[in-house]
């Protein structure tokens, strides 16, 4: 895009999405309700593991307003299979591991749906759900994923061959040899905790089956419209083109909506069965027990270093909590395992991974997707080395970081697509140095001493993070100019609040010399474009953005060729400007793009202009060859109340290198949100279960999301190391902010409490455990 003078890309463009949302005129799935809509409520298991002996629906079915009560038996009539397909059917995993649309015989986590009630309102649907009598026979429960490795532990599902879903190794080199002779070896036992995604809008789906047409319209708050279309069609045994999925305004995703859920199929099936519109809007209580979670991992790791703290090798074992079913694959565990070495030169690495099943709701990626866990492990190990060898934490990192002059740096590890992990660009040390300068790292010892004199305990923490962004296999975009002159960009990428439409409009406007106002972006509608992958892995500006750029260029080339014939001027003397093709330097000689579009629509019986084909439009499915690695370095100051264990953030500085910034305003917003998500993981968000896998923190009063009063102003810095892995030179920004937050805060808390020898080995950081450690109590 360098040949273009930048009018739109790189600018702080206000978002095109905002005016409607600010007037309350957004259209979310909950706002969609055709006349005659039936409302659904699910009957969910109160047990983490039980057999279903009987379901008595009689009382519920007779309640006023209740239209039907459906169980697995009923839905089976319109489904090709009761079992959800595996989302990523690539790895070799055992059969029969995915969840059921409605479970027929056995419940395997609290919240699993066993029946659904259709009624005239959600109120009456809940009345009905409360009246469905299910006879459960409780079975032994597997609550702690570490128990999955113990022979004879209760089976997570009766059908499960083993509670360990799979076991794999990641690594390279000779860890055993190196660690046997390393001058220093330090071991850590670390835990990162399962939390929820918690977009403020929960899940929701409306399905409307048209009996006459045999078509199904589905509105869903999803991060993957095309996959939902495909899955609905497969499971209902109808043609894909008979199913239209629309994701209207999506009130946040963060991973929770990157899955085709059993409920979506159940609602579609109920609509087909009853030939009417059926609506289900998840409430928060349901989100707590039936939307995906992520991050419970137990790590036993050791690091070998020389006297200077140079890393010789890292090895260990990780147990990943998969939950009761595997709807997608083992991507979280794999990402975490391959993320450990991060921005560092690690000559030898070896990790044994156990993907362990438990009687808890299943896990798939939440913002960060395994990378925060891997990052936490490496950064905690480095802090340990720094402490033991009395090397400054920043200096230790400096010694081990991959130097900028070694970019691109190929790691002897493969990403889950099987490609070598190649860090494409970035200057990690420069990022670190700048942040430490801004936060006055050098002056911190004096600040700490002064605070201590006042009886306060402050600490500084720091951490790096890198993330592969822009996963393939492709993303779709079509650019089309109408005879009216309006430009439509359609994409399979999914808007869910990030500002995708604005970013894509900027890219198209730049390439077409058009105004942003002349462009309409359509995302999340399977009728607008035939294929698409969706929103995950910080990928959309990279993949959809590249497709938009290339499609817009193709359209631009066409327009130039046609205009050249119309104006009888060489194409090389023409430019696109303000919706017209004009002769360079003679703006009065021009053709509006709309007029070219009209010509290319074709006039019956007459020829098209030479050599361009029909339609002023192009569709591109750009495929990345490699991921773009975004990097970040965070430093923060905290104050710890040693009497209560309370941790208070004083200052937070973060440097991002996300390559070229399409819209700095939007990028900053993404980083802010990512950091605060990380702060939640570091200090607040704890999804508590008891020993029977009964979830205890099922309200926003118990499960604490970060609030405005707990967050200091975030100071952001940017570096722009463009990547050559995509034509825009951009890297993903959605998740990278989250990665090092738990590590940086843990590092700061350790520092604040260094005189007590407190070490944070688990997040979220629990005030009770801080006091426990300060008082030398037994660590639970």
């Amino acid at each position: 895009m360098n040949e273009l003078t930048s009018r739109h890309v790189g600018k702080r463009v206000r978002r095109v999405e905002d005016p409607a949302l600010l007037r309350g005129a957004g259209r979310f799935v909950g706002d969609i309700e055709p006349p005659g809509t039936l409302h659904a409520a699910f009957v969910r298991s109160p047990y983490a593991h039980a057999l279903i002996n009987a379901i008595d629906v009689a009382a519920a079915a007779e309640m006023p307003g209740v239209i039907a009560v459906l169980t697995a038996v009923d839905l089976a009539k319109v489904l090709t299979t009761l079992r959800m397909p595996l989302g990523f059917p690539t790895t070799t995993l055992p059969p029969d591991i995915t969840p059921f649309v409605l479970t027929p015989e056995e419940v395997c986590y609290v919240g699993e749906a066993v029946a659904m009630v259709l009624a005239t309102s959600r109120y009456t649907a809940e009345d009905g759900a409360g009246a469905v009598l299910v006879d459960y026979e409780p079975l032994p429960v597997l609550a702690d994923c570490r128990d999955a490795l113990v022979a004879g532990s209760p089976k997570v599902r009766r059908e499960a061959v083993d509670n360990v879903l799979c076991q794999f190794k990641v690594g390279y080199g000779d860890c055993e040899g190196v660690l046997a002779t390393a001058p220093h070896v330090f071991k850590e036992r670390l835990h990162q905790h399962r939390g929820g995604a918690h977009p403020i809008e929960g899940r929701g789906v409306v399905a409307s089956f048209d009996r006459q047409e045999g078509t199904l319209s589905v509105w869903s708050s999803t991060q993957m419209a095309h996959e939902l279309q495909f899955t609905v069609a497969e499971m209902l045994g109808i043609q894909e083109q008979s199913v239209r999925v629309v994701a209207p305004d999506v009130g946040g995703g963060f991973g929770a909506k990157f899955l085709v859920y059993p409920e979506e199929i159940a609602i579609a099936a109920a609509s087909r069965l009853h030939g009417c519109t059926v609506k289900w809007i998840e409430d928060r209580a349901e989100h707590f027990v039936s939307a995906i979670q992520e991050r419970d991992q137990h790590w036993d790791v050791e690091i070998g270093v020389d006297d200077d703290g140079m890393i010789l090798g890292v090895r260990g074992r990780m147990i990943h909590d998969q939950g009761a079913y595997t709807p997608q694959g083992i991507n979280c565990a794999y990402n975490a395992a391959t993320a450990v070495t991060g921005p560092y030169v690690v000559p030898n690495y070896e990790l044994d991974v156990y993907v362990a099943q438990t009687n808890k709701v299943f896990t798939i990626p939440v913002r960060g997707a395994g990378y925060p866990e891997g990052t936490f492990v490496m950064e905690r190990l480095l802090d340990r080395v720094a402490r033991e060898l009395q090397i400054d934490r920043a200096l230790l990192r400096t010694r081990n970081l991959i130097p900028a002059d070694q970019m691109p740096y190929v790691k002897p590890l493969k990403n889950r697509a099987g490609h070598p992990i190649t860090l494409d660009s970035g200057d990690y040390l420069a990022c670190q140095s700048k942040v430490l300068e801004v936060i006055d790292y050098a002056g911190f010892a004096a600040r700490k001493a002064l605070a201590r004199e006042q009886g306060r305990h402050i600490g500084i923490g720091l951490a790096h993070g890198i993330k592969g962004t822009g996963r393939g296999p492709f993303e779709s975009a079509s650019v089309k100019i109408a005879p009216s002159g309006r430009i439509t960009v359609s994409t399979g990428a999914m808007a869910m609040g990030q500002g995708l439409e604005t970013a894509l409009a900027q890219i198209a406007a730049e390439a077409l010399g058009a105004s942003i106002e002349s462009i309409d972006v359509v995302s999340g509608d399977t009728a607008a474009i035939s294929m698409g992958i969706g929103g995950f892995a910080s990928r959309q500006t990279i993949t959809a953005g590249s497709s938009v750029l290339l499609a817009a260029r193709a359209v631009s080339d066409k327009a130039l060729k046609v205009a050249s014939q119309m104006l009888e001027v060489a194409a090389s003397d023409l430019v696109l400007r303000d919706g017209k093709v004009e002769v360079q330097g003679i703006p009065e000689m021009s053709v509006p793009l709309g007029k070219i579009a009209r010509l290319l629509r074709g006039i019956p019986g007459y020829d098209l202009p030479d050599g361009v084909g029909a339609g002023l439009e192009a569709t591109i499915h750009w495929e990345p060859d490699a991921m773009a690695y975004a990097n970040t370095f965070h430093a923060c100051e905290v104050e710890v109340d040693v009497e209560t264990g309370g941790v208070h953030l004083l200052r937070y500085v973060a440097m991002q290198d996300c390559g070229r910034l399409v819209n700095p305003l939007i990028v900053e917003g993404q980083i802010h949100g990512g950091i605060v998500h990380g702060i939640g993981n570091a200090l607040f968000e704890y999804m508590r279960y008891d020993e029977n896998a009964q979830p205890l923190s099922t309200t926003f009063a118990d499960y604490l999301l970060p609030t405005s009063t707990e967050i200091p102003p975030l100071e952001l810095l940017f570096m722009e190391s463009p990547t050559t892995s995509n034509p825009l030179g951009v890297k993903g920004v959605g998740e990278v902010g989250t990665l090092p937050v738990t590590s940086a805060i843990a590092s700061a808390v350790d520092d604040a409490l260094s005189e007590y020898g407190v070490r944070i080995a688990a997040v979220p950081i629990d005030p009770v455990r801080i006091v426990e450690q300060i008082e030398g109590r037994q660590y639970r």
């Binding site: 206000r14 978002r15 999405e17 905002d18 005016p19 949302l21 600010l22 007037r23 309350g24 005129a25 957004g26 259209r27 979310f28 909950g30 706002d31 309700e33 006023p64 309102s121 109120y123 918690h198 977009p199 403020i200 809008e201 929960g202 305004d249 999506v250 009130g251 946040g252 963060f254 809007i281 409430d283 928060r284 869910m496 609040g497 990030q498 500002g499 305003l665 939007i666 900053e668 917003g669 802010h672 949100g673 990512g674 950091i675 605060v676 998500h677 309200t699 926003f700 009063a701 999301l705 970060p706 609030t707 405005s708 009063t709 967050i711 102003p713 975030l714």
Partner: protein, 165 residues
């Protein structure tokens, strides 16, 4: 509930955004549901239905309240303001404009409630500083923005208000 309880519809007259609505709801219908389902004012969103997230916040006689923690019937006789009432002509008001300029929203789901809280704050405390803004916002959950640009938008709107008054 005992079998004796019947869900009787009750007819209400509600004043929302200076407009009078007549509607029939059950006793148990919450104000938020009534606004959304009976009156079609879907700008009021439901994020938790237990009074914590603040997405359903509306003004009752000029004061913020959770729409999910009130019954529709309790709002009779009150002047209710929802997000739709903030820009009756469709033109963005200074607070909304500041949100647009400062990128104070992302998915926009929590935004309506937050706009009403800040409307109240700016009226009651025209000198509101960052601390006051963060305190007022602490009754809302936003998962997208980390609050930073919401605070920035609010302070920008306060500043504008000060300049114009």
């Amino acid at each position: 509930m005992s079998s004796s309880t019947v869900s009787v519809g009750r007819t209400l007259t509600l004043s929302v955004n200076d407009k009078t609505y007549e509607t029939t709801v059950e006793s148990r219908t919450t104000l938020a549901d009534c606004l959304r389902n009976q009156l079609g004012l879907t700008g009021t969103h439901l994020g938790c239905e237990h009074g914590v997230c603040g997405a359903c916040t509306v003004l009752i006689d000029g004061r913020t309240a959770r729409g999910c923690l009130m019954l529709a019937a309790q709002a009779e006789g009150c002047a209710i303001t929802t997000v739709e009432g903030l820009s009756p002509t469709g033109e963005l008001q200074p607070l909304q404009q500041a949100f647009w300029d400062c990128h104070g929203l992302q998915c926009g789901f929590c935004t309506p409630g937050i706009l009403l809280t800040l409307t109240e704050l700016m009226r009651d405390d025209p000198q509101a500083d960052e601390k006051a803004v963060r305190l007022a916002l602490s009754g809302h959950l936003c998962r997208c923005t980390g609050y930073q640009n919401i605070v920035a938008a609010a302070l920008s709107a306060v500043e504008q208000l000060r300049e114009t008054s």
